[in-house]
């Protein structure tokens, strides 16, 4: 369906990534946000708390990030599109209830405007070191979805996409911004509501006595209901059967947890999203995401000036990882180069998928700033030898 015009600030704006993310959430139909202040993400909820009262939305500043994520998981069961916003230290606290939302299959969006870490790290400065935490930061085995915008425009567009993915696959979607994109101000075009596609909450057509909360009938995702509609359903963070009842057995664990994983893994080709440039005849492919993707372009230009054939792959959905495409490319190219603002996270997945058919080189950065394009160029030159 098309977006509710009440949440869409149609026009051409000059916004930072945090504000654009907030606008994206409101355009997507998000009407419940719980959060706790943390730099460099707070502007997202400041924007939302400024505009929510005029569109029937409720923002609550909770007592901490544990509470914020728990409230979001709870509100998801009212049919509302829900979101919380944080940065590294708060992301760590949210892990507990990200696991709950994953286990209950409660759709929601978690924004992490990444800063340098570990611990309190660099509160006002950039990092991309929560990428593995986004995937498996909560305990137990699961798969979810994560996206990385590279600009304020994408912070708007992809926030809508994050909500759509969370509704489609009934998972918490991690929206992995970074401080640079969050605080960078650029032109953001917000289209009219009738040009924005949003996925509404799909409720079951079944009657209460026919309904089982986790019955899938061969589909990847069960049908949902809302609290207060007379279904008298039960859901739990415990391993549960189709009725949502706890069952402590090897059999139930293997069926229910495997389905949580399979709904993403087996459908990864429908979820993955990336952009490619100049892949034809490339010897070296640089893979990057978020702010690093923009810095990378400068490094690629420098390498091309030296006569190296360089392709560029920008990850938009980072989890699930574009495994199929990386395997195809690994058969064709000599080397992959991956700059990221950490000491090697996504590159591990790249290396796994390249499976020795092409070399992989990490261009690390400890955080607090972005790469020097010359370092990326140098890594490309080395990889091309």
């Amino acid at each position: 369906m098309k977006a509710d015009p009440a949440g869409v600030l149609t026009g051409v704006h000059y916004l930072d990534g945090d504000y654009a993310c907030g606008e994206g959430a409101m355009a997507a139909g998000c009407r419940f946000v719980a959060g706790y202040p943390i730099t460099p993400s707070t502007e997202v909820v400041e924007r939302i708390s400024q505009r929510f009262p005029m569109m029937g939305g409720t923002f609550i500043q909770m007592e901490d990030e544990l509470a914020s994520m728990a409230a979001v998981a709870g509100a998801a069961w009212t049919g509302s599109k829900t979101m919380t916003v944080t940065s590294g230290p708060g992301f760590s606290l949210m892990m507990e209830n990200i696991g709950l939302a994953t286990m209950m299959e409660a759709p929601c969006v978690v924004v992490n405007v990444q800063r340098g870490g570990p611990s309190t790290g660099l509160p006002t400065m950039v990092g991309q070191a929560d990428m593995m935490q986004a995937r498996w930061g909560s305990h137990g085995d699961y798969e979810l979805i994560a996206l990385c915008p590279q600009s304020p425009q994408e912070a708007f567009d992809l926030t809508i996409e994050a909500f759509n993915l969370s509704e489609t696959w009934r998972v918490p979607v991690m929206f992995m911004m970074d401080e640079c994109v969050g605080h960078m101000t650029e032109k953001v075009v917000i289209p009219p509501a009738e040009e924005i596609d949003v996925v509404p909450r799909k409720l079951t057509d079944k009657k209460p006595d026919e309904y089982k909360p986790y019955e899938v009938n061969g589909k990847p995702v069960p049908e949902m209901v809302r609290a207060g509609d007379g279904y008298r359903f039960h859901t739990t963070g415990l391993t549960h059967d189709e009725r949502g009842y706890p069952v402590m057995s090897v059999e139930c664990q293997s069926v229910s947890v495997k389905r949580l994983i399979d709904k993403i893994r087996l459908n990864a080709d429908q979820i993955v999203r990336y952009e490619e440039e100049d892949m034809e005849g490339a010897d070296v492919v640089v893979v990057a995401y978020g702010i690093t993707a923009r810095v990378t372009r400068a490094g690629i230009d420098m390498a091309r000036a030296k006569g190296i054939k360089v392709g560029f792959m920008r990850l938009i959905v980072v989890w699930p990882f574009p495994e199929t495409r990386i395997r195809e490319l690994a058969d064709k190219v000599k080397a992959f180069v991956m700059p990221e603002i950490n000491y090697g996270q996504m590159v591990l997945e790249l290396e796994r998928c390249a499976a020795g058919k092409a070399t992989t080189t990490l261009v690390p950065h400890g955080g607090g700033g972005v790469h020097d394009p010359a370092d990326i160029c140098k890594a490309i030159e080395e990889a091309a030898k």
């Binding site: 719980a34 909770m62 409230a71 509100a75």
Partner: protein, 296 residues
């Protein structure tokens, strides 16, 4: 093994319609007090004539944390300590819901203590029923923030030397609009208090003292659950409106029960609506009672 007579019995029990009978038997030990509190809650739901389709119940983790799972309501079994913030999301996402949190002392005031005080401070619209058995039961009898001084627990084998919470005072001093304490012996009084609380607004807190025969009682040589209920009978004093500062519980000493606070004060949602209406006038669009959800 299920037989026809079991099924008939289940149908005939007056609170069976309020329970998920297909989940019986429950996990609670013989002479545990939690089941009695559930019976009082179900009776109060019945008598209060609330629309059960609009009641959502949330529990955390622990023995009392299993209550939500046995109630034939929209029922959520959340993470340890997070029942109150989870329920906050339910209430704010669909304001017409009657939200109940039913959990234990360790869950709500140990790991969940921060959420408890803030929900009370906000006068968030929810009924919180806390079963206090003075110990972490499900994990094996560890010390709780409610364990009385000198009482033994598996992690205080020489007796507890920490000062426990006075829960009604904690709730009242943080701003709860309704505060009461009973034991699982006080079936009629507890039921009536729950019924009253269901008809109030804001953060309503009911502490219910109940025996843990398997751990608290065994570690402290207090006999069966029945022996403890006899102890409640002989040592509880009913004092409505008591000063909540006087409600500390010492080990196997006399203690006070009753309804302590019952004040009509604006809830979080009342305050929010009034404030935005005043500041924004006609520009304010409150979330509809049935929730701010996007549907075709």
């Amino acid at each position: 093994m299920s037989t026809e007579s079991d099924a008939t019995l289940a149908q005939e029990h007056p609170i069976a319609p309020f329970l998920r009978m297909d989940r019986m038997p429950h996990i609670w030990c013989p002479t545990c007090g939690i089941g009695t509190v559930v019976k009082c809650f179900a009776t109060a739901l019945d008598e209060s004539k609330v629309d059960l389709d609009k009641v959502a119940i949330t529990s955390g983790i622990g023995c009392t944390g299993r209550v939500a799972g046995y109630m034939n309501l929209d029922a959520f079994h959340a993470t340890h300590g997070r029942a109150i913030p989870f329920a906050t999301g339910l209430k704010l996402g669909r304001p017409e819901l009657e939200v109940v949190v039913f959990s234990g002392d360790g869950d709500l005031t140990g790991i969940g203590g921060n959420h408890f005080i803030h929900a009370a401070r906000r006068n968030m619209d929810m009924l919180v029923i806390l079963v206090n058995n003075f110990i972490y039961g499900m994990t094996g009898g560890q010390n709780a923030p409610t364990t009385p001084e000198t009482a033994r627990s598996s992690t205080m084998p020489f007796g507890n030397f920490e000062r426990p919470f006075n829960l009604p005072h904690l709730a009242a001093s943080c701003g709860a609009s309704f505060v009461a304490r009973w034991t699982c012996l006080h079936i009629r009084r507890l039921t009536k208090t729950i019924r009253t609380a269901l008809n109030r607004q804001g953060f309503r807190f009911i502490e219910v003292i109940a025996p843990c025969p398997t751990l608290y009682s065994r570690l402290n040589r207090l006999g069966s659950g029945l022996d403890l209920v006899k102890f409640y009978h002989d040592n509880s004093e009913i004092k409505h409106g008591a000063d909540t500062r006087e409600l500390d519980i010492a080990f196997q000493d006399r203690f006070i029960c009753g309804n302590f606070v019952d004040e009509e004060r604006p809830t979080f949602l009342d305050m929010m609506h009034a404030h935005y209406k005043e500041r924004l006038g006609d520009r304010y669009v409150p979330m509809p009672d049935e929730g701010g959800w996007l549907h075709e």
